[in-house]
Amino acid sequence: MRESDITLLAEEMVEPALSVSGLCFSYPDRPNVLNNITLTVMPGERVGLIGPNGAGKTTFFLSLCGVLKPSAGEVVLLGKSVVNGDFRPDVALVFQNPDDQLFCPSVWDDVAFGPQNTGLSKDEVEKRVSEALATVEGTELAERPVHHLSEGEKRIISVAGVLAMHPRLIIYDEPGANLDIRSRRRLIRLLQCSTETILVASHDLELILEVCNRVVLMDGGGIVADGDPRRVMGNAELMEAHGQEKPHSLLPHQVSHQYPCRPTIARNA
């Protein structure tokens, strides 16, 4: 048995969290938004997805969740093929704009919305909600009306709404947009501490660099690079060819900004 075979075997034993093969998608008035995308993500990986506006990141995410129906190819999530229109509680998507996701009158209602739809008992729902709120350090927001929160708080609550469903794969579509530095830092910490498999699309390359252990560069509906974040994003030529920039922190030295994962105690640190 050769070495490569052994690796192959080892990989096959762990079922991938996500495996996409030959995925294509067209909007009615815009063909080939996704071109033959093939990607495998193993459980526990944190994959960053970068690429210019219109690269197809959001479209890709929506096809993964079964909201859009691909014109070709297959998506297998956690060992089960995705069927268009099917509801998969183990996969969750955090939308780019929290306002698209938050519509209940109070924070509590909103976080409870998902668990209630999966038909859990009342106690179970309550437990899920308080757990999720504690994880994002938002317990004291519970009774507040969603529409009066600050941008950063809205983002945090939309993440809680997704966590409460206990997904095993979470997809974040540009989670850093519109956040101030303190909220962004809190989000980064949250992402760094999460135990789920995650996919993050962002234009904030520093955020990707701090959170992800793998990065995928998309352009024109296809994947043009895939690998270690420091290697891919450190390749100035590649990055510029696809409308990106080498992140500042990769420029002269590498400065680690990794914050320790702390248990949830105080919010107003």
């Binding site: 009615p28 929506l62 969740c65 909201v67 509801f87 509680p89 969750a92 998507l93 939308f95 704009n97 306002d99 698209d100 996701q101 938050l102 519509f103 209940c104 009158p105 919305f113 998902g114 209630q116 739809n117 999966t118 529409h147 709404g161 997704v162 469903m165």
Partner: protein, 262 residues
């Protein structure tokens, strides 16, 4: 939701070239003349004129059929009821039901008028950007408040429509299914609608600030300028003549389906 009205505004035809104000006056008059017609012989002429106009406008037939699908439900309801309810002369008996000749003729009358008017309206609105049409209406005397409201509403309908679509997507991804009628479901949909209203209300406050900062109401807003050439006027003349022809013809022929009933 896709509005798809502006799909064919870039074609080239006499109707596309016709100046918006004149087109509005001409085709609206024609539409009202059509709604006046009650004589079956004039109806046939109406079909001819409608087909001719649609062909000249170079809009594809498939477009027309697509647009007809939705409003036709009402028509279907009429077709299914009127022939059985209205009239005296039985032409056909289906089991216990009698089909009356008068009801049948009424349905034919309504259906042809309906489709013809819809077609002309389609030519009117699919050959000019809706935006230009509203500006033409203002130039023709629509009150400024109405025109401003229409333009702003048009701008934001599509924006808010996209928001609704995204919100419905996110609800589906969190397991919401609205198959049954339940209080929980109704409440959720009310929350969805309410969120859209609240977002729009809050956005309108910002829009107002942005408008006054750029001098809204400071100077009378100039009316969009339209320039008509001779051809526009001639076309209007022709269309008005046709419209007049329908009204006089209908009156001359004795005004009614009764002409064919004898």
């Amino acid at each position: 939701m896709k509005l798809g009205l502006d799909e064919y505004i870039n074609l080239d035809s006499p109707f596309h070239r016709w100046e918006a104000r004149y087109k509005l006056i001409g085709l609206i008059t024609l539409i009202f003349a059509f709604s006046f017609v009650r004589d079956l012989r004039m109806l046939l002429t109406m079909v001819g004129v409608t087909v001719a106009i649609y062909v000249i406008s170079r809009l594809p037939a498939s477009f027309m059929l697509r647009r007809l699908r939705f409003p036709s439900f009402f028509l279907l309801a009429l077709v299914l009821t009127l022939p059985f309810l209205s009239g005296q002369t039985v032409v056909l008996s289906i089991g216990p039901l009698d089909v009356y000749r008068e009801g049948l003729l009424t349905v034919v009358l309504i259906a042809i008028r309906f489709i013809s008017i819809l077609t002309i309206a389609l030519v009117l609105f699919a050959t000019t950007p809706l935006l230009t049409t509203i500006k033409a209406m203002r130039a023709l005397g629509l009150p400024g408040i109405m025109a401003d409201m229409a333009l702003l509403a048009l701008r934001y309908i599509q924006e808010i429509g996209q928001d609704l679509k995204k919100m419905q997507m996110s609800m589906r991804l969190r397991g919401f299914r609205k198959r049954r009628l339940s209080l929980h479901g109704l409440r959720t949909l009310a929350w969805l609608g309410g969120s859209i209203l609240v977002h729009s209300y809050e956005r309108s406050e910002w829009v107002y600030k942005a408008m006054i900062l750029r001098g809204y109401g400071h100077a009378p807003h100039p009316r969009a300028e339209f320039q008509a050439c001779r051809r526009d006027v001639v076309t209007l003349g022709i269309v008005l003549l046709i419209a007049a022809g329908f009204i006089t013809g209908d009156i001359l022929f004795g005004h009614g389906t009764s002409a064919l009933l004898q």
